[in-house]
């Protein structure tokens, strides 16, 4: 049960992101590197059973790709302009073959010609225009906030041009990830917000086969432009239920691919068929300690540094996540995913080594002193604060407890409170907390990750809701660095600014990164091989979000 929280946390994110469009991607290698499936000899099983869609307890029939409650299989059926690999931010072609910035406010996509919808209608730039205009007309569908950045869109031949209202190069990711709808179907829909799209006309590798409230089956879409790369003929989604039942089903070998937290994956999954059963849990987000920088003592950099040295991050990671994840780098980058952006001058990849002696020395230098084992502030008050973490996130709770134990060695009293998620979220947004556990990052773009937690535009005064800069880091020089990355298309300039942002994270400690939240993925190579792995990270191994579009075109029959 532990860890499930993070699974849920990240799964939830990606699901939201699927509707809203998330980011990032792997090199062009992606689409083309796959060995074409030898689909001529459907020798062994050609069906993949995926354990991912939560039935709660039965499935609602909803395949609207812009609905937050769409079935997960929806993402196997609709393609965006380009697929962005959230592990490293690389792009691969989907309905658009490429994109380029004419200048920092003009972005052009080349739309693929010759592609067809599953009903045989050609996919054209008009479908792209229709989709984006639909998002404009119905802001409820525009979860990615496209029309807050884009001022106009136009098409000429196979080129679709987006004009930005202000320079924002990294925003290309959100546009590229927007799935495209068939205008000949959706233009007839009276209310696309509540439309459930039960007979989807699709562009991607799959279309809907059968649906019943306990299970649905996707079948290969032979008209997909990349159908020749699709080896899995049928994808079956049984309704999942939470907790132990799903783990029993996994142990029984009922899934070929699943995304479950299991306390002992070696015993509960791998050992059942060591030859075929594998797992890969790459980092998908950074779990951090947010400190309210508007309040003492967290507004004091020396105090934050002392806290940072006083936390044994490696032990926190091991205890909270059963040893499945690593201590996070204080650079703020998700490593190793984004290692090409890592400033080589940061010692130990930005990972901070536990050093309570140094922590005590720093506290003493700032005027803190110990009295009867309790740390007193320069004004003589005992140092104590609370950590809030959402109720039910048992792994985060474990992390909070470990933090509390470790800081007690410095004489700091840390209490833990676990409000319901809604209460936690509102405290975080309104700045009514001292410290809190939270996650950020995982977009695949260092800019988007840093922008979320460091941009003053995403902060707000205490008492008003901040979108994501909950710790309230307000720094004109940081904003200037973010602006620099957003407005340049020059990689060297982007890199230099990103290095400086890492420096802000590492030296100024706006948040204390703790450990990486994992993307859970168990898969079997009995029938299919070609899964993403640490050595070939062409996509996160998640059976949700847009990763399946890349994965299902990479899988090939085993043997």
């Amino acid at each position: 049960m532990k860890q499930k929280a993070v699974a849920r946390f990240l799964a939830g994110r990606y699901k939201g992101a699927a509707a809203a469009a998330s980011l990032s991607l792997l090199a062009a290698a992606c689409g083309s590197a796959a060995t074409p499936a030898s689909s001529t000899t459907p020798s062994k099983a050609t069906t993949l059973v995926v354990g991912v869609d939560n039935g709660s307890p039965t499935l609602a029939d909803n395949f609207n790709p812009f609905s937050p409650n769409a079935r997960i299989g929806t993402t196997y059926m609709y393609e965006p302009l380009q697929y962005v690999n959230t592990l490293n931010g690389s792009y691969s072609p989907m309905l658009a073959t490429s994109h380029k910035f004419v200048n920092a406010t003009t972005l052009q996509f080349q739309i693929r010609s010759g592609a067809k919808w599953s009903d045989g209608t050609p996919i054209t730039p008009a479908d792209v225009l229709f989709t984006f205009n639909l998002l404009k007309k119905y802001p409820a569908l525009d979860g990615a906030g496209i029309w807050k950045h884009v001022s106009s869109i136009s098409a000429s031949g196979n080129t679709v041009t987006f004009k930005f209202s202000s320079p924002d190069v990294p925003f290309a990711q959100a546009i590229a990830s927007t799935v495209i709808l068939p205008s000949h179907i959706w233009s007839k829909i009276a209310n696309p917000v509540t439309f459930t799209n039960t007979s989807p006309v699709t562009s991607g590798p799959y279309k809907l086969g059968t649906f019943n409230p306990n299970q649905y089956v996707l079948v290969k879409n032979p008209l997909c432009w990349q159908a020749s790369k699709v080896a899995v003929q049928k994808v079956v989604f049984p309704a999942m239920s939470g907790g132990q039942t799903a783990q029993l089903e996994l142990a029984k070998g009922q899934f070929g691919w699943a995304t479950l937290f299991v306390p002992n994956v070696q015993q509960d999954w791998v050992s059942k068929a060591p030859k075929y059963n594998h797992y890969w849990f790459p980092p998908g987000g950074t779990i951090s300690l947010y400190m309210n920088l508007t309040k003492a003592p967290f507004n004091n950099l020396t105090f934050r540094k002392a806290l940072s040295y006083g936390l044994d991050r490696s032990s926190i990671a091991t205890k909270a996540e059963n040893g499945y994840v690593q201590q996070a780098s204080q650079s703020g980058l998700l490593l190793p995913n984004l290692s090409k952006w890592l400033d080589p001058s940061l010692p130990n990849s930005g990972k901070i080594t536990y050093n309570p002696t140094k922590a005590k020395a720093l506290l003493a230098s700032a005027g803190y002193r110990l009295s009867n084992g309790k740390l007193l502030s320069p004004s003589g008050q005992p140092v104590q604060f609370s950590i809030i973490t959402p109720n039910g996130f048992s792994d985060w709770l474990q992390a909070a407890q470990t933090i509390s134990q470790e800081l007690s060695k410095l004489g700091i009293t840390v209490t833990i409170s676990t409000p319901e998620y809604a209460g936690y979220n509102s405290s975080l947004q309104n700045g009514q907390f001292q410290t809190a556990l939270g996650g950020f990052g995982g977009s695949g773009s260092p800019y988007i990750d840093f922008h979320g937690i460091l941009s003053s535009a995403l902060s707000a005064p205490v008492g008003q809701a901040a979108p994501s800069n909950f710790e309230r880091w307000i720094s004109p020089s940081t904003d200037a660095l973010l602006h620099k990355v957003a407005t340049t298309t020059n990689t060297a300039q982007q890199k230099s600014a990103v290095y400086q942002l890492e420096g802000v994270m590492y030296h100024q400690l706006p948040v204390l990164t703790l450990f990486y939240g994992a993307t859970w993925s168990e898969y079997s190579t009995k029938n299919f091989v070609g899964w993403p792995s640490a050595s070939n990270p062409y996509a996160p191994p998640a059976p949700y979000g847009q990763a399946p579009l890349a994965i299902m075109t990479h899988l090939r029959p085993a043997g």
Partner: protein, 326 residues
């Protein structure tokens, strides 16, 4: 008739209180219902301002003063309109509940009646043969069973008969190969899926009825009129059933009425363990996902059912026991 009329105002006032509490409770929870909906729908990661706006627009998050919201709420429930579920968006709450209700009524309803009938009969028997081996076995066995946490029973049954032995399916209300409908294969599948959950509820519920009935009977058996009936030479059977059991049944009827009302609430933990598509699981999901419209409607349905069941029991009581009519 006067008795019925006397009970009615009480019913109406309790109903109003329940409805009002139901309106207020979610609004007293930390965070706003809107915030919860936004958090839930945007996934549990950080919510961008644009996602938040998109979701608020989508759901039509409630605005206006508390009084006007209350008035809207009363009007809506009078018309049977419970709004749209956040969890199952864009399904209306009434449809979501309508889909789950038959499962719960069939499973929990049947098992509750079975538990009451079997339990009461066993209780009568145990009391009548008090001190016998049967009585000892029933009393000890039932105390033991009733003390068991029933979700634990459920987990053990699921593991042993579902996972290890593989005799029964481990989740769901019916298998994926059939579609709900009035046909034989669906019925067989649904029946097979209901065995383990039904057995769990029966095992956990039976003990209470047996013990309750046995203890009531014991009290009644000590009454003078029983001795008088025996002295008059009535057959033991007649004395046991017509005289003792009938009187001892009264508290049992009250409890049974309550139990029937609560049937609508489903058997939360059993349904969750077995992934059974009933009201209990729905309620669990509503709470976990902070789905206020669904939660409110479910609580309302459950409260109204319990109140109505109590009302009906009150009326039946009047028939069973003439004393209360005065």
């Amino acid at each position: 008739m006067r008795y019925v009329l006397r009970r009615l105002p009480v019913l109406v006032i309790t109903l109003w209180a329940a409805v009002t509490l139901n309106f207020l409770l979610p609004r007293l929870m930390p965070g706003t219902p809107a915030g919860a909906a936004v958090a839930k729908l945007a996934g549990q990661g950080s919510v961008s301002a644009s996602q938040r706006r998109a979701i608020e627009v989508m759901l039509g998050v409630p605005h206006g003063s508390l009084a006007s919201q209350y008035w809207q709420y009363l009007k809506a429930i009078a018309g049977g309109n419970f709004g749209i579920s956040y969890t199952y968006f864009p399904e209306p709450v009434s449809k979501v509940i309508g889909a789950a209700l038959p499962w719960t009524l069939a499973l929990v309803g049947t098992v509750t009646v079975m538990a009451f009938v079997i339990g009461t009969l066993l209780g009568v028997l145990a009391a009548w043969k008090r001190g016998s081996i049967f009585d000892t076995a029933a009393s000890v066995g039932c105390t033991f069973m009733a003390a068991f946490p029933y979700f634990w029973t459920a987990l053990v049954l699921l593991y042993v008969f579902g996972f290890v032995a593989g005799w029964f399916p481990i989740r769901g209300g019916y298998s994926a190969s059939v579609s709900p409908g009035w046909d034989w294969s669906f019925f067989v599948s649904a029946l097979g899926h209901s065995v383990l959950p039904a057995f769990t509820i029966l095992v956990s519920g039976l003990g209470g009825w047996v013990l309750g009935m046995r203890n009531n009977m014991m009290g009644v058996l000590g009454e003078d009129y029983i001795v008088f009936a025996e002295a008059n030479g009535l057959s033991p059977r007649t004395v046991a059933l017509r005289y003792a059991a009938r009187n001892a049944l009264l508290p049992g009827v009250t409890a049974f009425g309550m139990a029937l009302g609560l049937v609508v609430g489903g058997s939360l933990l059993t349904e969750v363990v077995f992934g059974y598509p009933g009201i209990g699981y729905l309620l669990y999901n509503a709470v976990v996902n902070e789905d206020y419209p669904l939660m409110q409607a479910l609580f309302l349905v459950i409260t109204v059912s319990v109140l109505m069941a109590n009302f009906v029991v009150d009326l039946i009581y009047g028939l069973l026991d003439p004393r209360v009519r005065r």
